[in-house]
């Protein structure tokens, strides 16, 4: 129930927007993330977007983890 999933913002219509993941589209309220822009990944919970996903941060987390265990220099 606390599930929140990332979805990509395709269309912005004022208070709400159309978001998509894996071909599934949904109309979602954007009032809690007023800075969301088309193309952003948003974290969606119960019909509202809660936060904007920081793609650079996601990439840097993965880059660090992919190097785990390689001999430290």
């Amino acid at each position: 129930m606390c599930l929140a999933v990332p979805m990509k913002l395709l269309e912005h219509h004022g208070q709400s927007g159309v978001l998509e993941i894996g071909g599934a589209r949904k109309e979602v309220m954007l009032t809690l993330t007023p800075d969301a822009k088309v193309g952003d990944w948003l974290i969606v919970h119960a019909g509202y977007s809660l936060e904007i996903l920081d793609e650079q941060e996601a990439e840097s987390t993965l880059t660090l983890l992919r190097k785990l265990g390689e001999s430290e220099t």
Binding site: A4, L32, G47, Y48, E51, D54, E55, A58, T61, L65
Partner: protein, 365 residues
């Protein structure tokens, strides 16, 4: 492209597991995952298979359906039996047994119980059905509270008169405070709920390392997130250090989401709240502020049956991390997802249901 897939990469999982093994910790560790979303990920992806046998993951009180007390469901049922009332709710709650019945049973006998994906959808339905009084059952933590606050703000502003709110909303820091103040709960590290912290920010949980000396990591919800969080907890323990660290940096800002908190503060105020397994925890709930009393169905007088616990069900002990679900004598026999005796067997985030679905061979983690 699905942005989540790299966070399920098996090679990275192995690397993290190898790193955790290197710590060679000499005592058994109990880490609690507070959020039911984490419980579901841990079982679904079999994460315990990647961990050392000395690290145990214990479920906590973060499945909203599970911690909803019987008297809330009993009250919702009593309201449902009034003329022209529609109960609107999130799906999982419908099957949770109240003291003697569930909302599903009431619906089967003609009660009007409707499931909505969001409170905004329920408000739209109410606008289109002026002949009904729609009572929305508000359960959840800060994550859900901000969405419900936004819907109630819209309801009040646009003067919708046939929509009401019944609150069992809860705030996570208050529950954790109560949990760790209990003498018989011993936890070495906490995996904090990423989506609650998205709203609250990190500071809401800083009292845990400060007052209880327990290391905390805010975690995302993919297998790699949870594994990295375990690794970060091990590092804190090894360094004799306790802080709130953020593993879920791609989503959680240190200061949380101020818009979300502002709408919660505008619409709700703290109140004492009953939790399954804990009893009433002071100031651990949210209800509509008094100026919105018109929309609060707490103010409707109905006769509610006296609350009773289900005989033999040990949800309370499961939710406090005192026992594993398989230690309940009803687990998998009298109580299954088809015939749930307690709330923890209903929601896929409930520890009993997650264990039943995903670990049928080796129940004991």
């Amino acid at each position: 492209m699905n942005i989540l897939l790299p966070f399920r990469d098996a090679d990275v999982m192995q690397r993290i597991a190898a790193e955790i093994r290197q710590f060679d910790i000499d005592r058994p560790l109990r880490f609690m995952e507070v959020c039911g979303g984490h419980t579901a990920v841990i079982y679904r992806f079999g994460l315990t298979d990647f961990l050392l046998s000395t690290i145990r993951l214990v479920s906590g009180p973060g499945c909203p359906v599970c911690v909803t007390a019987n008297d809330f469901i009993d009250r919702a049922i009593a309201l449902c039996e009034l003329p022209d009332v529609t109960i609107a709710t999130f799906g999982d709650l419908v099957r949770v047994p109240g003291s003697t019945r569930s909302l599903a049973e009431v619906r089967a006998r003609g009660g009007d119980v409707r499931v909505f994906y969001s409170s905004a959808d329920a408000l739209t339905w109410a606008r289109e059905h002026q002949e009904r009084t729609v009572v929305f059952l508000g359960i959840g933590f800060e994550t859900t509270a901000c969405t419900l606050a936004a819907t109630m703000a819209e309801c009040v502003q646009s003067g919708v008169k046939n929509f009401r709110f019944l609150s069992a909303l809860k705030t996570m820091p208050a529950a954790l405070q109560a949990l760790f103040s209990a003498p018989d709960v011993h936890i070495d590290g906490l995996i904090l709920p990423g989506h609650v912290t998205t709203v609250t920010g990190l500071s809401a949980f800083r009292f845990i390392p400060r007052e209880f000396g327990i290391p905390c990591v805010v975690s995302g919800f993919e297998p790699i997130d949870v594994m990295e969080s375990v690794l970060m907890l091990c590092r804190q323990i090894k360094d004799h250090h306790a802080d709130v660290e953020n593993q879920y940096r791609r989503v959680v800002r240190d200061g949380g989401n101020p818009q979300a908190r502002a709408v919660i503060d505008e619409m709700f105020e703290p109140c004492d709240m009953p939790w399954r397994g804990f009893g009433i925890i002071p100031e651990s709930g949210l209800k509509l502020s008094p100026q919105f009393a018109f929309w609060d169905s707490e103010n409707v007088t109905v006769e509610v049956e006296p609350p009773q616990e289900h005989r033999g069900c040990r949800c309370g002990d499961v939710l406090c991390g005192r026992i594993y679900p398989s230690e309940c004598s009803l687990f998998g026999t009298a109580c299954t997802p088809e015939t749930p005796r307690g709330a923890c067997m209903v929601s896929s985030e409930g520890a009993c249901a997650a264990l039943y679905h995903f670990a049928p061979v080796n129940y004991d983690r």
